[in-house]
Symmetry: C7
Subunit: 273 residues, 7 copies
């Protein structure tokens, strides 16, 4: 692929009206380990693959709480994501302090997008190299947003980002119409199934994934954003495996997909696993 002199500076337009540096930064999102998000009317779930850098290390956290009513999952440069998470945390605290009410999720995603946009227009910075799934609860119910390095953001019912996320997206597309009315448990199970799609044959267990949930109970009280315990996750995984004995052709489809993705896999950035 030949690309000429328009792709080394974020302030340089190509003759076709593209900002290559911003597009390249979006490639970084595809290099990170996968994460997924789903939401029903009352609950939002985030899940991420736990991929330790080596046998000796713990995994790097990819799911962060930013307030009682909201959290993020990220794929891409974790260091950039950490900086943005802290930014969101501050915005939530400030809003609470001033208005004595939680920051609506759409506003949260907007503030994040505006922060990302700034880095796409100045010559002395680079665009952030991280995509964030922002999930949370506000007066209008549960919401899920995807914020990308270009400063754009989209509301989703369910979405997956990161390495091998295509398989998870295919899974979610088949089922997302019903999500509006799912129970929290159903959401978590589908999140686990979507994560499993990205693992390429590796076995899903409570140790290689993180799941978090936020929502509102039937009585209207808020269930704060929190990670689900490993025991509970393993229990759900076990129950899913029992149920999964019939469908045999799905893995075949998935493995063909795995193959076509292996090319980009080889070029994976070592700094962001």
């Amino acid at each position: 692929m030949f690309r000429n002199q328009y792709d080394t500076d974020v302030t340089t337009w190509s003759p076709q009206g593209r900002l290559f540096q911003v597009e390249y930064a979006m490639e970084a999102v595809k290099q990170g380990s996968a994460c997924v998000g789903l939401c029903s009317r009352t609950h939002a779930v985030l899940a991420a693959v736990n991929k330790p850098a080596s046998e000796l290390s713990s995994y790097q956290r990819k799911v962060f709480r930013v307030a009682e009513h909201a959290g993020v999952a990220l794929a891409g440069l974790t260091a950039d994501g950490r900086v943005l998470s802290r930014f969101l945390r501050n915005e939530c605290i400030n809003h609470s302090f001033v208005y004595e009410a939680p920051l609506p999720i759409s506003r949260l995603a907007l503030k994040l997008a505006d922060k990302a946009q700034v880095c796409t227009q100045r010559s002395w910075k680079r665009p952030y190299g991280v995509g964030l799934l922002v999930a949370g609860l506000d007066e209008s119910g549960a919401h899920l947003y995807y914020n990308c390095p270009s400063g754009n953001y989209f509301e989703y019912q369910a979405f997956a980002i990161g390495s091998r996320s295509q398989a998870a997206k295919t899974f979610l597309e088949r089922r997302f119409q019903g999500y509006k009315d799912y129970t929290p448990e159903q959401l978590i199970k589908d999140a686990l199934s979507a994560i499993k799609e990205t693992l390429q044959g590796e076995k899903l267990s409570s140790s290689n994934c993180t799941v978090a949930i936020v929502g509102r109970k039937d009585d209207g009280t808020i269930e704060p954003f929190e990670m689900i315990g490993a025991a509970r996750i393993q229990e759900l995984i076990d129950s899913m495996e029992v149920a999964e004995e019939a469908p045999e052709e799905a893995p075949a489809e998935a493995s063909s997909m795995q193959e076509e993705e292996r090319g980009s896999e080889d070029a994976a950035a070592p700094m962001d696993i």
Copy 2:
């Protein structure tokens, strides 16, 4: 197409007196999904295609309210457009606060153009990559302006920008002489027809377009800028389809046009759909 060293820096003139970087930024406008604007003496209508990033996501909003009497529709980098919309919102609020009167639409377009011009003359920024249709109402009636990345702006009776907007412009050119005296409903119908021209065979429905209107009623009271409800839009689309059974040759013309635009379509920037 060979272009030499004059096109990588916004502060560099070409020997022919052109600023290539500004022209390239204007290409970005053509990459965005289409939007159209029309205005009569008393009403202005904005309409945009809703194009979701994927099956799972909602579409990104392209039409924004900036004040009670004005709104914008945008094509190009949505992130840049969002920043400019907020700028306009602040200008409207400040003007109202100081003068206790709404900011005239010509002044609004001028302020936007001046903000864009600054980015075409400094080495450490890039020109904005977004075109805006500014529609609104002031004492002299309804107005429609098109602000482009170069810092220029033009008043229009009707206009379309973005990907495949040529078909819509052709449609509008055939009919714009009468717009001065159109009723709001007629404006909306023509906006929908123009949007339909850009869809390339895709079916127009209330879910893949947004329409907004602002105007003054016969009794002189203002109808604030607001999005038209989906039900009302679908109703209008249905009524239009009934009426549209006769003309058969227009689609043929449109499809030939679609073909000649497909080249630039292939190069569409993925970050801005």
Copy 3:
């Protein structure tokens, strides 16, 4: 035409002592639609071609009032010109406020030239890409100046700038000796004739040109700078056409000139029509 490495930075001299970037910026003036200026002892007239960006749009304004006693017409990047017009407006207001007298036209042109010079000596800006005809009235009578992007300015009796301005200049050169004593009506007629020369066969009408005048009446009271009404212009055009039946060879000369200019026309910058 081969030009080497001395033409990409405004702070770089060529071995022959030229600043190519400044010269290139002056090319932008030739790309804009034409405007002309003329002045007698007591009146100054500015006229510009109104060239709409498309059938749907109004034309962009090229003639601006900067004070009661002065105005400008511009060719080149309209966005740059707008910024400079506002600068002039501020200078006039400040001078009136401090000295309780209008700013002399020579001082106005000088301030504009100095502002332009700054952009030819700093590495982080580009020269302005617009030429301005500054016309106005002060105690010493009516004056016309041409300010160009290099920071130079010249006083003229009559001048034309912009695309195809050579034909207008040729027209003015044949007649300018008498301008000192022209009546306002005579000035306007010659301005219209000069504008006509630049239209290349297109018919002159009150809708495709703007004319403005400033002057002092015989009783010494000032006639403020203002645009002449379309009706009055059309009336003058009609009267000129009646008178113009004899001379048949001038168009021939003009069309040959048009041909030699077509080359540069093809390279016209799309952003500045």
Copy 4:
């Protein structure tokens, strides 16, 4: 290996979404002399090779105390590491002063990672060229983190970085499961064994390694971070040698590993031995 224009500026993304300058900075860590870290529930141990620049000089210190309850070992540019150690020392002092409690180790590693991240996003600085093992004790027990130049950090049970650290990592991977319950002496012995793996045949003695420990005694009192005396180290080495007479095949494995690393060894940066 051919890499094109995307690898000279830290603010430039490659088309694959990688920041080559950050990856190159991580290569500097591999050039430094090795260091290892281990931790049990109550104690953390850091050890480093002492490699004098010449026969005439003492070695450069690679293990630093940053507070009573924490210390770091570093590999890479020692000068960069020294600057970061002082930063950590200040953070610890400030936290103690404000909260009257020691800074938790996870917060310490986070602050370090955020400082590193900043240098990966600005055009006028370079990423730090040093990796740090951060070891310490807080209310949740002993912890070991690895902070790398990209701004990422990972928690480890045991880890080794620097030149020829692969042999040490292989050693640690065989044994790390038991480390949670090791006594301090066992930790130190394994640290010495790991260091020995990196020495490539050179004999381990108390003069060519530094070992430091921090932990909590059984009675709950803290054992401050301190270097272990040379006499005590020699004593432990001697006791290890007695025990090591049986296993003969490990050196063979190690030497083969040494060979495959020699390539990168030849390119070792002379400034950072």
Copy 5:
């Protein structure tokens, strides 16, 4: 002429210890229309060619008064020269205000030279592209200085700069010994003759040259710097023509010189005529 990479930045030395950018700026002086200066013990005269940009325009002023006792004539970028003239005017006013005495001419030239030097040592500016003849009167009599873009300045008895100034210099070199004791009228006549040498066959008249004089009368009162009236100049030119009937061979010599200069003439910068 091949010149390598040392000539695009004013802060870059060539291997031979030259600053090419400064030398190139000095070329700009040769592109401007000519001006000459002469001084006797008590009077200094400046003269410049008036070269209108077109038939329609007045000429650009090249001779400026900076104080009652001093003025400048310039060749090169007029816009740069105007900025420097204003600087000199301010320096004169400030000195008068503080010391209640006029600024000595040597000090004036020194201040100008220091201002020019600054632009030869900073990377973000370019050297000024204008040469100035500074003429004035102080307690030690009349003086003439030449300030060039490099920041150097020289005292002269008589000098000429600008396009085709070589002919004028040759004329002045034949006669300058006597200038010390010339009367004002004699100085003006020689200035006119020198200017004539630069005109290349064009006829000298009061309309194509400007002459200014400053001096001290025999009674010690100062004759302020002022332009000489056109009538007086024409009178002198007429009287010179009567006297000039004999010498016929000088034009021949001049025309040969004209030829050898035509080469550089073709490369004349259009922005500075």
Copy 6:
């Protein structure tokens, strides 16, 4: 030797994790004339070659006193070294003023190293091109440090830097074990011998070397850092020559070493002799 694009900017890492600009700056140290340092338990000695720039000039000083208890010798860019010496002098004075005690030598070397590190991480400065031997006395006895341009520093018992320093280092390596217990006179004699090794056949005399000493007398009083008088040095040289009649093979070894160094000698930077 081919090195590609990674070696022109101090903020650019090479793919192997090296900072070439810092390594190149360290080459400058090898270009300077040689200097040596030695220390016993109680005394430290610095010696440098005096190499006049020409027959007409005195030599440039390479040994500087920075406080009563400390001094430096330098090799490389003397101008950079002078700036750093003044920095050290200020640090010593400030510390004395605040703490009423001399600055420990290890702290002095650390401060110097940190100042050097800053210049290796900013794009707008270059690394210092000078190496410094810092010698001094504090409560823990006499110390000798070598600070290099990379921001690293090492403690030495004895060391030599600069042009042809390898011969001196070889000499010192044979003898340094005993230095701990040397008398001041013995230290000075060995310093003179080491200097002699670097002279390549040139005769050592009191005029071509400088020797300085600092130490503590047996009664605990400090002997301030001072240059040793020329008479005393000549006396020691004479006594050494008497003793040196036996060993004949050392010069042979030295001359072979001289040959292998001549290559780099030819490339010696003329600005730093």
Copy 7:
């Protein structure tokens, strides 16, 4: 001579540890007209060639008084030298004001060197292109220093810099041993002889050289730095010519030297004669 990419930026080291831009700036010193300095125990003399830019101009001054007890002569970019002379003048005044004693000459040279060093380490300035001979008198007698663009400075008994200074240096080297005890008249005569060596056959006269002297009379009173009158110089030149009839072979030697220097002469920078 091929030199690669390391020589365009003053902050870039070459692989051999050289700063080419600083070396190139030192070439500028060789391009300037020559000047010499000599000093005895009590007097210092500076002399320079007066080389007018043209027949019409006076020469540019190259010898400046900076205080009653000190002065400088310079070769290279006169504009840079003027800026540095003023700096020295300010330093002398400030020192006198604060300490009520003249600034020692060694301190004066040091301050100048430090100012020059700064310009060798910043990316946005260039090194000064001028060498200065600083001569003066303080309590320790008369001194002569040479300050070069690299920030180095050297004390000399006698020295010559600038174009063709090699001949003068050869002359001074033959005689400098006796200078300590020369009378002022003897110093001046040798200065004139040295200047004569640089003139390449041109006749030495009082009009083409400047000589200045500073010293202390036998009674201890200071003879302030002042230029020697032309009459006195001519008198000395005449007396020297009478004495010089015998030595015939020196010119031959000089002319051969002239030839070998002609190469660099051709490349002489025109801006600095």
